[in-house]
Symmetry: C2
Subunit: 106 residues, 2 copies
Amino acid sequence: MSDKTIYQLHADACKALAHAIRIEIIDILGEIELGFGEISKKTGVAKSSLSQHLSVMVEKGILTQRKEGLNSYFKLSTPKVEEACQLMREVLIERLEKTQDLLKTL
Amino acid sequence: MSDKTIYQLHADACKALAHAIRIEIIDILGEIELGFGEISKKTGVAKSSLSQHLSVMVEKGILTQRKEGLNSYFKLSTPKVEEACQLMREVLIERLEKTQDLLKTL
DNA sequence: TAATAAGTTTATATATTTGTAAACATATAA
DNA sequence: TTATATGTTTACAAATATATAAACTTATTA
């Protein structure tokens, strides 16, 4: 596989995190598995939209999906997703803190 | 700051990773600082496009920029960016491996 | 069987992102 | 001063992503 192909796949995986609703879903899931209905209730996102977001995340390997009767259950495909997410949150917090520091000097 | 605001900022930071060229830039930078010209040479991206990608990454706190005379130098704002990126690459690899396993069973 | 409930899929209008080209700003060299 | 080199910014067309609504699928219930 060429480097460019890897970079593209890697970027595609990151894209699956690049939406506020999808970050919220990762946050809600954490280590546990939840049904569609619960995720819908906790996020308040319209079911059609939620289904599409979840499907993007499953396609890109961020979540795994299990179907049981009429219901669908989702969980993180690996704890690494949460770890990566946590690191990005720390990057964000460092930036916000730098902005704060800058403001204090004014 | 509301949860929704945090999720949006968090997603914005992730968006700054969500492009093959930007993943390649993070990969190239690693621990070191590089000038615009070197990044341009290594990636082969048109300078206008490269400048825009770098500016997105600086705005979202992924990179820091230092200007010296006519030149611009870039580095990761924190090693956490590389760590997060590495974790996402592992998520990708796990997914590719699962696909491989699946293929073997056929 | 008919109705309902739980998600999924499709269509589409809107919004956002991207790549390209051209214009621009500015530090340095001739 | 004029020219050049190094990026940056702007404008715009094309590609992608998103939200919403409606139609659809399928398992369960009446």
